[in-house]
């Protein structure tokens, strides 16, 4: 464990962006958890006497046009944004991933299962042909505006990605000897999929999960921005940006810029983490990275050796 941690630390040194991703995600998570302790004001309390105040000692990020404290709202927001994005992405991975595993496992041969697999893939084609954002708002329109609907919209929009990803993984794993061996040993299809196929197909799915949580946050914020997602005064980045929109045009930048920057940085963090998982999970890329780590170590060793001796030999 300790060796792994040390390796991770060295990785962070030569790929600082990976480290940056984890730092951002951890900080945002801590802010969300500790928001009630850190926030100087209630995130929904409007002080009508001090509206649109620029950033100052009392209100670090200023106040918005109804007098709510922007700093408090900005750090409360990830509670709702992250929850929606994580739930939605998790649901889509569960739905798309398990269907994808089945489709991949049964996509050759004959019988009703093959036809079902084919139909499912074509259904995914249709879903992906829709413009994502318009499909999401149409879902909100027909299911009614609520947090659950936003979660469902994220799940629906992303499910085809996991369906395809899992299917292509399973297709290559299915022909492996160990799958054959488990079936020869009398495991049912279901047991084989659960015990041997899915665990070996998970790595790219995990990388995709982190990236999609970032997208999920953007979709939540975008829906709230146009007024189809989370409603004010619930603290949420997208609706905060929308509230401050007119103010930005007239020069009061703080109601929109602070939540917007937090939103962008958070999404950036999640995509960095996704990128790092992608590299670590791909054997070829991981080998390259580990080679870089060794080169880095050697360069450092050479430097110290140079310094301890009396100059270059």
């Amino acid at each position: 464990m300790l060796a792994k941690l040390r390796l991770f630390g060295r990785l962070a040194l030569i790929r600082p962006r990976f480290a940056a991703g984890y730092v951002i995600v951890v900080i945002v998570a801590i802010l969300a958890i500790l928001a009630p302790v850190i926030a100087p004001f209630s995130p929904t309390a409007a002080d009508s006497l001090s509206f649109l105040q620029p950033p100052s000692g009392a209100h670090v990020f200023g106040t918005d046009n109804v007098g709510m404290d922007i700093f408090s709202r900005t750090i409360y927001a990830p509670r709702i944004d992250l929850t929606i994005a994580i739930l939605g992405t998790g649901l889509s991975a569960l739905l798309g991933g398990s269907l994808g595993a089945l489709v991949g496992f049964y996509s050759s041969g004959r019988g009703i299962r093959v036809w079902l697999s084919f139909a499912l893939m074509r259904a995914a084609d249709v879903l992906q042909a829709f413009p994502i954002f318009v499909f999401a708002i149409a879902l909100v329109a027909s299911l009614g505006q609520s947090i659950q609907t936003v979660v469902l919209a994220i799940a629906f929009v992303n499910a085809p990605i996991y369906l395809r990803l899992m299917r292509s993984q399973v297709l290559s794993i299915r022909s492996m000897r160990y799958v054959e061996a488990s079936q020869v040993n009398g495991l049912s299809d279901f047991q084989t999929i659960i015990r041997h196929v899915i665990p070996n197909a998970m790595a790219p799915v995990l990388a995709q999960l982190s990236i999609n949580v970032g997208w999920g946050i953007v979709l939540t914020a975008a829906l709230s921005f146009i007024g189809a997602g989370v409603r004010a005064p619930t603290p949420e980045w997208g609706s905060m940006i929308a509230m401050g929109f007119q103010n930005v045009v007239t020069g009061q930048w703080w109601p929109s810029m602070f939540p917007g920057t937090m939103l962008a940085v958070t999404v950036f963090g999640f995509s960095l983490v996704g990128g790092s998982i992608e590299v670590l999970a791909d054997p070829a890329k991981r080998r390259l990275l580990l080679r870089d780590v060794r080169l880095h170590d050697m360069a450092r060793a050479a430097k110290t050796a140079e310094r301890s001796s009396l100059g270059p030999v």
Binding site: F130, V134, V140, A141, W253
Partner: protein, 336 residues
């Protein structure tokens, strides 16, 4: 002839997909709460009038019959009526779609310019500073929400610097719009010979096009970089280098071979942008098809949304067919 069979084959696959899109849209409409007859007639309608209209609209029929009626209407070009504008959705969309198309097309050109240029230089020197910049650029634009970036641009270029016009539509208030020919203002103003209006249209296009162009250059950049790297590593490029062919020529030949993948990603992006420009349209009050659809959703006016979904789906299909033709031109292996 072979090309024609190839295209026919592709079209054959497209039709079921289009039917699927129509079916999903239909189900979405049907799951919208509220009786359309009541919505159309208003709260003062008598029960008899509502029953009458329900009969006329086929709402008293079973669901599958309603679906057939819906498809039949679509085939007759009837996309339903928007109760906000009280006009047929088809007319509304035909009027608004060019605005979206103009915005999206120009943005795509910017994205191609940025993406292909950066990708080429990054592939030329995989460890150079341009490659590093391209890497960082691709990562960060992927994470920036477009509506937020648009707002930042407005703040900098309109509020602070005053270089760009206010984000309110496609022309200055005082400029008379040119007679509509194509619906794309840059073309119509030039056709009318009105340079002042042309300038106004361009200045209004600047920020939204910059937003969409810069943020969507990422995929093109990545694709150009990775395919070009592969091409420059491949045998034919190495052989050229060994023979002493000038670097410029080697790169040109590699690019020629990398084109099919780059064209693919561009076509996917084009289809995506029609629906993906919605938020930017709203931020700049663009008055395009996307904004029309969103207003429809927010006011439980569902037919504009469906019309928009169908329009963008059909547009993507047209783009894909055109791209198939381009492949035939680019890759001799396909036509053989």
């Amino acid at each position: 002839m072979r090309v024609l069979t190839y295209l026919a084959h592709r079209l054959l696959f497209i039709i079921p997909q289009l039917l699927g899109i129509i079916l999903v849209s239909f189900l979405l409409v049907k799951s919208v709460p509220g009786d359309p007859a009541v919505l159309m007639l208003g709260p003062t309608a008598t029960p008899a009038a509502i029953a009458n209209l329900r009969g006329a609209l086929g709402l008293d029929q079973p669901l599958y019959v309603q679906f057939f009626i819906y498809v039949k209407n679509l085939l007759h070009g009837d996309l339903g009526t928007s109760w906000q504008t009280t006009r047929p959705v088809l007319d509304d969309l035909v009027q608004r779609f060019p605005a979206t198309l103009e915005l999206v097309t120009l943005s795509l050109l910017v994205a191609i310019g940025v993406g292909v240029t950066l990708g080429l230089y990054a592939a030329k020197r995989p460890n150079g500073w341009i490659a590093r910049f391209a890497d960082l650029y691709g990562l960060s634009v992927g994470a920036l929400p477009d509506f937020w970036f648009a707002l930042v641009l407005i703040f900098v270029f309109y509020t602070l610097l005053g270089w760009a016009p206010a984000p309110l539509g496609r022309l200055d208030m005082i400029v008379l719009p040119p007679p509509t020919v194509t619906g794309a203002l840059t073309i119509d103003t030039l056709l009318a010979g009105d340079l002042q209006a042309f300038g106004s249209a361009l200045s209004h296009l600047a920020l939204p096009v910059l937003t969409l162009g810069l943020l969507n250059a990422g995929p093109i950049l990545k694709m150009t970089q990775s395919t070009m790297e592969k091409m420059l590593e491949s045998d034919f490029s190495r052989y050229e280098v060994l023979c002493g062919v000038p670097q410029k020529l080697v790169i040109r030949h590699a690019l020629r071979n990398a084109l099919p993948s780059i064209v693919t990603i561009i076509s996917v992006l084009y289809g995506f942008l029609i629906g993906g420009a919605v938020l930017v349209e709203i931020v700049f009050s663009w008055g395009g098809a996307g904004q029309y659809a969103v207003q429809g959703v927010l006011n439980s006016d569902i037919y504009p949304v469906l019309g928009f979904v169908l329009f963008s789906a059909i547009f993507s299909l047209i783009v894909y067919i055109v791209v198939d033709l381009i492949y035939v031109l680019l890759d001799p292996r396909i036509s053989n």
